[in-house]
């Protein structure tokens, strides 16, 4: 059904008049021009399309846009504030926790969701939380290290 959906996108109000069953991924990429969120598998199996809705990491390829009406949506484009990278982005950058970069937005946002809930996750908790995100280049080792470092940095910053 064609209707107007309002939500908060990266801290700013957003309104789209679209088929409300359209998947959030397509709304973000083609109605709103935010291409940092990637298409990978179309079935919620790889995590490349992950965004934050409220406090949760969700697969935007399998989330109809009507499900985010009235909610807060955060994409990779909204993670840095006033030109300053988020500590997770800083840590991914420092550790070169990517190669081709195609899964990176989803990895960073899923890590963000983890740190919202668990400020100081153990290595095992990180692995469990990230396990259904795929990376073909094999950057896993560095992604884990980057998340560990970001968690430490966040903790340090809060003190």
């Amino acid at each position: 059904m064609q209707r107007t959906i309002s939500f908060t996108l990266n801290g700013k109000p957003a309104r789209v008049t679209v088929d409300d069953e359209r998947m959030l991924l397509w709304v973000l990429r083609y109605d709103l021009g935010l291409t940092g969120t990637k298409f990978g598998c179309g079935a919620g199996l790889c995590g490349a399309c992950t965004v934050i809705v409220g406090q949760e990491a969700v697969r935007s390829c399998s989330t109809p846009v009507k499900d985010v009406a009235g909610k807060q949506v955060l994409t990779i484009e909204g993670l840095s504030q006033q030109g300053r990278l988020h500590p997770i982005q800083e840590a991914f950058l420092k550790h070169h926790a990517f190669q081709c970069g195609y899964c990176t937005s989803g990895m960073i946002l899923n890590a963000y969701a983890l740190l919202l809930k668990t400020a100081r996750p153990s290595r095992a908790e990180i692995i469990r939380h990230m396990d259904d995100h795929l990376c073909r280049c094999g950057s896993h080792v560095r992604i884990v290290e980057a998340i560990q470092e970001a968690a430490g940095a966040r903790q340090g910053g809060a003190r």
Partner: protein
């Protein structure tokens, strides 16, 4: 199914019957089986670099950034030779209108083969600039110093001129011959690990891939695909799809597509076509179980790759003969970014943004498909979301260009995951047969090796065995033998070498076990190659290898390989649950000698990536299929390595400044099959002869004992 049969049927059937060829004629545009030692690169250094009026240096290369870090390492090479700051170098990669020709980004050649070309260009440009500076400053060139693009005369304070001032944004017309490149000892930029040039864009989501080009008015195309390779379309009714508001249906020969400004609506319209499409199933051919017998029967005649001594003599001298057959399945590339392209036609010129490893060959293919002169086609390669050999073939770029021509609009073709699996040029299934002999004293005396359908790259073994022969029958490069494979095959990260290394290094371990020797000591006692001895010893030291007979119950294994000039030794520790057949790879140590190391952190990234990716083909990845139907269509059944699989990975870069920089993006992956197989044997005494080593196969091997 034979391709000839299909062609005949196509002719007989007349109009209305569309045939989907099981094997695409892609081979000519893929990585060649034997890599050329030299390429037809331009000799004019201006082809590779421009110095702007603002002092920034643009480096132009036909290579592309697939994630392997070439954007950074190639910039390092140019900055080094030109004596400019790395930060001042802007890379332009894989744009056929502005970059110098290149065959493609594959074979770990960017540094090994293209590196010297780029360095030479930088060195010549620097020498010319120095001459120009000498004239400008009226000082002998020999006295001048260059730092970060500024030439100064140390004996005259304040006498300085920048590259930018000398060049004034123009092309440099002067040439010099035979300018030497810098010696390794003088390197200040090469050999370091600077921040990757793609880092900021990739952590902020600003990095653009072919599917992100977003031209106004772009139509998203979804294309009708056959259910199986070899299936023929009998009938289709597109009228329901045509009624979808905004949808446009195109039929052009074998291409039936529906286009819409919204990808989801194009998808929905395609569903309406799919339900009205009737296909004739292909004739029964092979499946993933019968394929190996088929390959042995259908493979072309073998070719001797290497031979020394005499096999009959070796047979005579052998006290013990050990024979085995090794198998590996088809494996998918499965990059996270599916094949993507956007094509646009303006004033008779086509521009295609494509996620491809081969922009220049794609340009030729597009020109051919559209009946245009090559200069009317431009291929631009943005960031590529993983290639691994699978984006040497770029069908999507041609489809986008054809549809852009027909519709007159920009057209985007982004494969869905199902298409990505279906049209992948898989790593071929393959068979290796080895017959080896040991003397009474426990020395290898005979090595009779035959590889079928994997290819001959690095098939020749490097141990000291007096009587040996290596045969190779059939390769991985596409449809060279019609009917051999039920779908397209092609180069997969370190083509042919994963297969050859699995077989060779497994067999060496079996021989070591036979004579009751430690696998590392057994290898060393048959190795005079100094580089190989060094990496093996380096790996053993880091691993803390303690000699023992296998199976020792500890679950440790070793495997060695050479890949195009790079030497690798890998050791692994595994735990095997006998009851379930599940393997946990706990630790992997990899020592590598890649000659001069351009970027140590980049090399480590490639080693870590190879080890992690290699766990997939070792343990789970195999393409199941039946009669041309590819049964793997997404990541629910085709299992890639995950975070929870992660071993502790330790990399040892064995420095070797005497050897020019070699490739590092492929070598370590080739050892992963054998190192895990050997560690499994050491753990539980079960020998795995087939990849992947799934729990079922491990259970079976345990039972067999």
């Amino acid at each position: 199914m034979k391709r000839d049969d299909l062609s005949r049927r196509d002719l007989l059937a007349g109009s209305g019957l569309f045939v989907f060829f099981p094997v695409e004629p892609l081979a000519a545009f893929q990585e060649p089986a034997r890599l050329p030692s030299r390429q037809g690169y331009p000799t004019d250094f201006n082809a590779y670099l421009r110095i702007g009026a603002d002092g920034r240096v643009t480096c132009l290369v036909g290579k592309v950034e697939l994630g392997q870090g070439a954007k950074t390492s190639l910039a390092q090479l140019l900055a080094e030779e030109l004596d400019v700051a790395l930060e001042a170098v802007d890379m332009v990669m894989g744009d056929t209108d502005v970059c110098p020709w290149d065959m493609g980004t594959f074979g770990s050649l960017s540094i090994r083969q293209f590196g010297p070309v780029l360095r030479g260009a930088g060195a010549e440009a620097r020498a010319v600039l120095l001459q120009l500076a000498a004239e400008h400053l009226q000082a002998p060139a020999g006295r001048l110093q260059v730092k970060a693009g500024v030439v100064s005369d140390p004996s005259a304070q304040g006498k300085r001129v920048t590259y930018a001032q000398l060049v004034q944004g123009k092309r440099i017309e002067r040439r010099l011959e035979k300018v030497p490149v810098k010696p390794v000892s003088a390197f200040t930029v090469v050999g370091r690990s600077p921040r990757r040039k793609d880092a900021l864009e990739k952590v902020t989501g600003r990095a653009r891939y072919a599917g992100d080009m977003g031209l106004p008015g772009t139509l998203h195309a979804r294309i009708l695909r056959p259910p199986a390779h070899g299936a023929t379309l009998k009938d289709v009714d597109t009228s329901a799809a045509e009624k979808v508001p905004g949808a446009r249906v195109v039929r052009d020969g074998d291409l039936i597509a529906v286009l819409h400004e919204r990808p989801d609506l194009a998808d929905r319209a395609l569903e309406l076509i799919k339900v009205k499409a009737q296909f004739v199933a292909p004739q029964p051919t092979v499946d993933d179980k019968t394929i190996f017998d088929h390959l042995l029967k259908a493979a072309p005649p073998g070719r001797v790759v290497a031979e020394s001594g005499s096999l009959p003599e070796g047979e005579k001298l052998a006290a013990t003969i050990v024979e085995e057959t090794y198998l590996n399945s088809y494996v998918a590339h499965a990059p996270m970014e599916t094949h993507s392209a956007v094509a646009m036609i303006e004033d008779g010129k086509v521009t295609v943004w494509a996620g491809t490893q081969t922009p220049f060959p794609v340009k030729q293919q597009v020109a051919q498909a559209l009946g245009l002169a090559p200069e009317k086609v431009r291929v631009v390669t943005p960031y590529v979301g993983g290639g691994f050999g699978g984006k040497s073939a770029s069908r999507q770029a041609i489809e986008a260009a054809r549809l852009a021509k027909i519709t007159g609009k920009p057209v985007q073709v982004v494969f869905d995951r199902s298409e990505e699996f279906f049209y992948d040029t898989f790593r071929p299934a393959a068979v290796v047969k080895i017959r080896a002999g040991l003397t009474g004293a426990g020395k290898m005396i005979l090595w009779d090796y035959a590889v079928y359908c994997a290819g001959d790259r690095e098939a020749k073994q490097f141990y000291d065995i007096p009587h040996q022969r290596t045969l190779s029958a059939g390769g991985w490069s596409g449809g060279s033998t019609p009917g051999l494979h039920p779908f397209a095959v092609g180069p997969w990260r370190a083509p042919s070498v994963n297969t050859n290394t699995f077989a060779r290094e497994s067999h060496i371990d079996i021989l070591a076990t036979k004579v009751g020797a430690d696998p590392v000591e057994f290898r060393l006692s048959h190795l005079t190659d100094k580089r190989m001895r060094r990496v093996l010893e380096a790996a053993a030291k880091q691993f803390g290898w303690k000699p023992a007979r296998t199976p020792s119950g500890r679950g440790v294994g070793v495997a060695c390989a050479i890949y195009l000039g790079t030497y690798v030794a890998t050791m692994a520790e595994v735990a095997v649950a006998k009851s379930t057949g599940r393997v946990e790879v706990k630790r992997v140590v990899c020592a590598q000698d890649e000659g001069v190391i351009v970027n140590p952190d980049g090399s480590r990234q490639q080693i870590e990536g190879s080890i992690t990716m290699g766990l997939g083909y070792a343990l789970t990845e195999e393409v199941r299929f039946k009669d041309g139907e590819v049964l793997e269509r997404n990541f629910d059944t085709y299992e890639l390595p995950r975070f929870s699989w992660l071993p502790k990975i330790e990399t040892v870069l064995v420095e070797n400044p005497e050897v020019p920089a070699q490739g590092c993006g492929e070598p370590p992956i080739v050892t992963m099959g054998a190192v895990v197989a050997n560690a499994i044997y050491d753990a539980v005494g079960a020998r795995l002869l087939q990849l992947p080593m799934t729990p079922a196969r491990i259970q079976e091997a345990v039972k067999r004992g």
